[in-house]
């Protein structure tokens, strides 16, 4: 427990910042889930064919991040061993008690959807994968359902559409809910706002799209494979659109606070112009919002004049900056909201710990876990299209048995 440097009068029990980097990381990770899922759904539900190259990757990325989403919370809890109480003895009036249920429902939808998406591949690999061990694994993953007739695939697709139709609102709800956790705290004027869930959701979508875009470009460049510029362009357009709405709402919220100038505005004004100046104005607004807005806008508006390669680089840089912007936004909300005392007369400074359960190293470790999960997924399931794209990587040497390979390429 740290004492933070204070100025003015800070209430005696508030000399600590209780919600630290883990609580910044938690909404950041769940946000990426929501955004990645929505990119994937744009293809699977709304038939945006240009996003096909990343649709599977985005879906698995949503799962990888979702699996890691509770970890920062567990790392933060004073009694992680009691964590499951929020599901066994939930307090119905607590927003936080909803987490276990919303999370479980969403995880269920996502896992079933991924299973349906990959079912035909899994069945095929169960008899044609390279090693005996992998064939056994696929056999288990097929859950005993080996029917891959056209009729069965049509049914798969129907169920998937249905799940995605629930999944999109569920993803929105999952993240809107995270915003509600903060927005519903009337004790804290920096948090209390009905706009908070909307802002969290929009910035989540921005960060998810940015993460998929950045990872896609890195993987393609690293493997020296061509970038599908239609796909990259489509992600840039989506990112640009959601960024505009997101920043507009964030700005309007701030403007509203300033214009109403309630009793709590004095402390918020000081917070903004002094304590959060760098992380809010410089990082979140200037570097994280204005620069990507200009870059993405240029790439979208002058699509025909700028070569695809340059546009991809612009998208990559914007994506990285957007990831920084959303992280800064989470920081400014979570840490910023605790940098002033509820006496409204004093301030605290936050110091980043390196070591410890909630230190920077632990944060970096937790943030690397979704990527490690992606690496594991990539060994089991083809991330970048059907098996036929890289047959030698997935299939054993002898010709495939039972089913002609061609029939799988039709499956989305």
């Amino acid at each position: 427990m740290h004492h933070y440097v204070t100025q003015g009068y800070v209430l005696p029990n508030q000399a600590h910042i209780y919600w630290t980097m883990m609580i910044v990381l938690y909404p950041y990770i769940t946000g990426i889930v929501a955004g990645a899922f929505i990119i994937s759904s744009l293809h699977h539900v709304f038939d945006r064919d240009e996003l096909k190259p990343v649709s599977r990757f985005a879906m698995l990325m949503a799962l990888a991040f979702l699996l890691c989403a509770p970890l920062p919370l567990l790392a933060h809890l004073g009694h992680p061993e009691r964590a499951l109480s929020i599901m066994f003895t939930p307090n119905v009036t607590s927003a936080m008690a909803g987490f276990g249920f919303i999370y479980s429902i969403y995880l269920f939808i996502l896992v079933v959807e991924i299973w349906l998406l990959y079912r035909v591949d899994i069945v095929f690999l169960a008899s044609n994968a390279k090693s005996e061990m992998m064939r056994r694994l696929y056999w288990v993953m097929a859950l005993g359902v080996t029917e891959i007739s056209d009729e069965a695939k049509a049914l798969d697709r129907k169920v998937m559409l249905f799940l995605a139709a629930i999944g999109v609102p569920a993803a929105c709800f999952l993240h809107g809910y995270v915003g509600f956790l903060f927005g519903a705290i009337k004790a804290n004027p920096w948090w209390a706002s009905p706009l908070m869930p909307v802002i969290f959701l929009l910035s989540a979508i921005v960060s998810g799209i940015a993460m998929v875009m950045v990872c896609y470009l890195i993987v393609q460049w690293f493997n020296k494979r061509p970038v599908d510029s239609e796909c990259a362009q489509s992600m840039m357009e989506s990112a640009w659109y959601f960024l505009m709405v997101d920043v507009a709402l964030e700005g309007l919220e701030l403007l509203n606070h300033a214009y109403m100038a309630n009793h709590d505005w004095d402390i918020m004004k000081h917070l903004i112009v002094d304590k959060l100046f760098v992380s809010l104005f410089v990082v979140q607004f200037l570097i994280g919002s204005v620069v990507p807005f200009v870059l993405l806008g240029t790439a979208v508006v002058f699509k025909n004049r700028i070569p695809a390669g340059v546009r991809n680089v612009m998208g990559f840089v914007s994506g990285l900056l957007l990831l920084v912007q959303v992280l800064a936004m989470r920081w400014n909300v979570v840490i910023g909201g605790q940098m002033f005392s509820k006496s409204f007369r004093g301030f605290l400074d936050f110091h980043i710990d390196i070591y410890g359960r909630e230190g920077l190293l632990a944060v970096l470790f937790l943030f690397s876990l979704p990527f490690i999960a992606m690496l594991v997924f990539s060994r089991v399931l083809p991330l970048w299209g059907p098996i036929s794209t890289f047959p030698t990587r997935w299939l054993r040497d002898r010709p495939p048995e039972y089913v002609p390979l061609g029939s799988f390429t039709k499956f989305k």
Partner: protein
Amino acid sequence: MTILWTKPEISRREFFEKCAEAGAKTFVFGGLVVTTANLLLAQDPPDARARAEGAPAKGTNVPIYGFVVDTTKCIGCGSCVRACRDENNVPDGFTRTWVEQYTFFPNGEIIVNSPNGGADGFGEDIPNRNMPEELGQLPVRGFFVPKLCNHCINTPCIQVCPVGASYVTKEGVVLIDQERCVGCGYCVQACPFGSRYINPQTNTADKCTWCYHRITKGMLPACVQACPAKARIFGNVSDPNSEISQILANNRVQVLKSYLGTNPRTRYIGLDSEVI
């Protein structure tokens, strides 16, 4: 290893229908169980305002406790804070009750402080200020304000506790079940008064209990007992003849941050508008 291409005994449609049916049943049944359990375990919803104003709980003789802080009487000696620390084994760096000193200067500046929660008293009655000569060095007025958990009727802290570790007793006292608290800190964020903290020894939320272990045995909270100025008055507000009921009947009282609608049971006499 081969895959058998026999038609499954159960068709895919049937399979999904059965899955959906089972899922729906689980969801509805689970929901019913949770809701019923919550309804059974929940306390009677108190007729909050009536109780706070002194009406006895329906059909019982359970006292409803209240707390009055008379800021006009506090001398800032800090006895209450020390008594509380001794009584409740409060960890260093935290406090369940504290005393704030407000000092107003001629230029409109207000200094608020509470060194060590006021436990050591306020040695320097007047905070050091380098005021412009023409304004004079002396403050125009000042006073002390003791603070503690307000034991609100509409408690934001109980509302947000994800596991129901924060609860209200039949006497209206807000408590924390240390065996149940997960230490998420949500209640610390939700309390508008800074009454709560995470106890570093137990890693659970902690706060003033109005000395529940004492008051249920007919004793006074430690801070009330220790106050030499009678600035703290505690008692049964449902008994119209109790001292606190008489004081509430004869004084105009105010609560902290009334605009938040938490409806505190701790009420203040002589509360200045600068006290937040």
